[in-house]
Amino acid sequence: MDDDKKLTGRKNVIMCVISVLILCVLLFPLYWIVVTSLKTEKEIFQIPPTFWPKVLNTKSYAAQVGSGDFNMFKSFANSFVISVGATLVAVVLAVPASYGIAKYRFRGRKLMMLGFLVTQMLPVAVLLTPMFIMFRNMHLYNTAGAAILADATIGIPFSVLILKNYFASIPKELEEAAYIDGCNRFTAFLRVLIPIAKPGVMVCAIFSFLYAWGDLAYGMTFIIDQQRRPITAGIFNFMGQYGTKWSYLTAFAVVTIIPVALIFIFMQKYIISGMTSGAVKG
């Protein structure tokens, strides 16, 4: 809405103030866990609650660096391996697939598109038991591999549907020019089209990573050892055993948010574009 006239003067100030108030109310829960993670257990239960820690307490973070069942940095590393693995699988498979769907009119194309669309709507409950049996038979049960393969199934359909629009918008002439320069279909795809569609590939990689990072169901069902589980399953376990140890729990939660916050800060334009392309969280 760039042609919309800019508000100025008092009206502008009022709107800005209201928008900041909305922001404070809606993002308060996030502020609240960050602050809580820096309080002592005693201060957390204090009434009236303090809106900024009286004594800055970083022990909740430090206590979990060391050994123990709930080493949150170990879980963090597990989540990282799983998410990067799932992102690689999703991107490597989805990039060529979206190009094929965008640029070729082969038989069965619509059926395949429909398949990708429908998989986006599936509830995890339908897939868990069959996948569980499958991974046991493949000897992947209780390994990162199971979570990687399962998480990629969320990233792939999303990526195909987003990227196909990017490839479709690339003019035919660019591809033809590559053929004249001696490329064949595959080298033209690799050297000319993928570099042009790079922003789209970024969107897909980011979302595939975020889906995998946020996954709980697959991680906790297919990986049983706490030492190998992703960070979301770690939090869930921790809640079950130390349900009221809120200083540790909130510290755990803050560590989980860090990569998400970094992606959000540095790659916001990709996120908005991913969300508005008609795709949604799985």
């Binding site: 809405m1 829960p29 094929g100 429909l114 709507m121 359909p157 949604v280």
Partner: protein, 306 residues
């Protein structure tokens, strides 16, 4: 197809002798999805007609049970409760998050200094891992530790602390609030995008013709946003109806099954009670409902997306 389009298609035929080469690009991803999603769906249907226990789970042959699992779940009070819960939860979340999202989209469509950066920051709740959101709201809705009880008490609205997530009367409300928090950004951003497609001139000419703000909202904004509103609501329904992580972490379906959803009940049957076949049957009921709603979505997107 118009004449022009026919020509383009013919031209393309000449350039690419074998349109079918394209299938080679799609096949790896498609086969992957067939193996890890397609096959499991079929397998899940088969499981629901068998009697699978811990012992027979990975065995080659499993005893056939016919419709027994489905008859059993439809006579199961918890299943009925979960079905009703899922519907109540979905409708409540959809209505509230849609209204708030719509209002915010209207607000941020005005061009003031903070409009874009603040709207960007409001996307945050949607990106947070749901497990963290669940933990956060569990903390906020805590009985003694929760800030919500403190705020309500200081405002004089309640006398004693409410056991939000521990009482069967209020637990669902807590989960609905948490889910609305996640859903607002999604509704806001899609409606925002829809709003940008409405030509400004329409509002100008309407105001020249003497229409007030309310009239132009109901006569211009709402009708022109209809496709956006439809897809926001249908997609919202699909993604809310299959809720799992949030409920599982916040209450695990409790207290006394009062917050069980179809997904959490299916999980409980399969992975806590090891009644895999009943769990599969519940999951299939969930799937059928989603597919029925999904057909509406596919019909809406078919023309421009395929």
């Amino acid at each position: 197809m118009s004449d022009g389009e026919v020509k383009i298609v013919k031209k393309r035929r000449r350039l690419f002798q074998y349109e079918n080469v394209g299938i080679l690009f799609v096949l790896p991803a498609f086969v992957y999805m067939l193996v890890f999603v397609g096959y499991p769906i079929v397998k899940n249907v088969i499981l629901s007609f068998q009697d699978v226990t811990m012992r027979t789970l990975t065995a080659a042959s499993k005893p056939f049970a016919g419709l027994a699992n489905y008859t059993a779940i439809f006579h199961d009070a918890v299943f009925t409760k979960a079905l009703v819960n899922t519907l109540v939860f979905t409708v409540a979340c959809l209505v509230v998050q849609f209204l708030i999202g719509f209002a915010l989209a209207m607000f941020f469509s005005r061009n003031f200094k903070f409009s874009k950066p603040v709207r960007g920051l409001l996307m945050m709740p949607w990106m947070i891992p749901i497990t963290v959101t669940a933990l956060m709201f569990k903390f906020i809705f805590g009985t003694d530790v929760g800030i919500l009880n403190y705020i309500l008490q200081s405002l004089g609205l309640i006398k004693d602390n409410i056991e939000w997530l521990i009482s069967t009367n209020t637990a669902m409300l807590g989960i609905i609030c948490a889910n609305i928090w996640i859903g607002i950004p999604f509704n806001m951003i899609l409606i925002s995008t829809g709003l940008t497609t409405i030509p400004k001139e329409l509002y100008e000419s309407a105001s020249i013709d003497g229409a007030n703000k309310l009239q132009s909202f109901f006569r211009i904004t709402v009708p022109l946003l209809k496709p956006t509103i439809e897809s926001v609501l249908i997609l919202g329904f699909i993604y809310t109806f299959k809720v799992f992580d949030l409920v599982y972490v916040m209450t695990s379906g409790g207290p006394v099954n009062s917050t069980h959803m179809l997904s959490t009940y299916s999980y409980k049957l399969s992975f806590e009670m090891f009644k895999y076949s009943k769990g599969s049957a519940v999951a299939n009921v969930l799937l059928v409902i989603l597919l029925i709603v999904g057909i509406f979505y596919l019909r809406a997107t078919k023309e421009d997306d395929m």
